[in-house]
Symmetry: C2
Subunit: 216 residues, 2 copies
């Protein structure tokens, strides 16, 4: 659920599904399978095949009717569209359990998202070394390090009460994109984009399917 | 991205958006605003208004043309549809940083998702008390505690290599629904439902919007 002030050319739900589509495509590529049908792609991602075809039609002709999509070509094109064919430098705000888990997440690094700095407002945490090798910095160093390390995305994993303050520090330091894990709606300037992560949405989705299973 | 073997009556993407819609509806309800337009609801959730109207049309007539939706009524109906008008008992598998953060998540509890047991295969962790008060249990106690505590949903926060084993223990104990945070595709029996959480999807979505901002 991205909160963008400007309207992108491609609908936001399509963009979210494109990122999902890359997961089975990567598996097929690793296993050396050259072609995937819209039905298989849809099944792996829990969407319907007509939706897959409609989403991919936004980007011209990737598919061959009755056969499917070329896995490598489709994956390459989606990565180009999503700008995931490059690396991004990230910083984390808040090194509690969640923040520490995020910095350690191997999946991020494999996909080109690198945590290059870690900040906490707690003086007791500043100076500690994380398992990844990063040393926790004081938030006062944020503006300098954002420039020095070319940080483009800020990830907020602070307690809810501190999240807006963390966002303001990031924006003031020139960061234009925030991934927010704190369960709070952040106010953001027009020029910036905030994506909220809310695990309870996944739980609600799961509970719905489970309730349906139990009724049968 | 739910992996359900059975086809639910309502499309999965609609169900996911319904959970999103509840977030601004709850804020409006708290602030005493009685009516919300499809445009406002859409803007808060980053989807387009036509999509909101289409999704809500699946469930009969919630709206009044030209006015909007009654906030309390719509929220109540969505919660009934999503089966979030009740409580669910959860257990966590794997008490590393992520697992510990999830058990502490206040948002889960507020929404009726209660962690009632915590399991780890590491003998050094078994017996330790978490900040929430739960004591970490050995996985051997899983079958007994699932029945005793009426656990319905298992949450996996183990390292990727141990996730499939954790899932099999949960299924064998009678659990039919899993929320999986490990970055790995789980094999599951026909009767069960697995929802995968992949933060890097959010990052890709954010990177796309940021790349668009930077081009302007």
């Amino acid at each position: 659920m991205p909160t963008t002030k400007k309207t992108p050319k491609i609908p936001a739900p399509t963009i979210e599904r494109l990122a999902l589509y890359t997961r089975p495509l990567e598996i097929y590529q690793r296993e050396g399978i050259a072609v995937i049908s819209s039905e298989a792609l849809a099944r792996h991602c829990g969407v319907n095949p007509a939706q897959v075809r409609k989403d991919l039609a936004h980007f011209g002709e990737f598919g061959v009717r009755g056969v499917g999509y070329e896995v490598s070509k489709l994956l390459g094109e989606i990565k180009k569209i999503l700008s995931t064919d490059r690396e991004w430098n990230l910083c984390i705000m808040g090194l509690g359990n969640l923040g520490t888990a995020l910095v350690e997440n191997q999946n991020f690094r494999q996909r080109g998202y690198r945590f290059v700095a870690a900040f906490d407002s707690d003086p007791a945490k500043v100076g500690k070394r994380l398992p990844s090798g990063l040393v926790i910095q004081s938030v006062e160093k944020l503006p300098k390090l954002v420039k020095q390390l070319n940080i483009e995305i800020g990830v907020i994993a602070t307690p809810p009460r501190q999240a807006q303050k963390a966002a303001e520090l990031l924006f003031a330091a020139g960061i234009k994109a925030i991934l927010n894990f704190a369960p709070i709606q952040l106010r953001s300037p027009e020029c910036c984009v905030v994506e909220n992560v809310d695990f309870s949405v996944n739980l609600e989705n799961l509970a719905y399917h489970l309730a349906n299973l139990l009724e049968e």
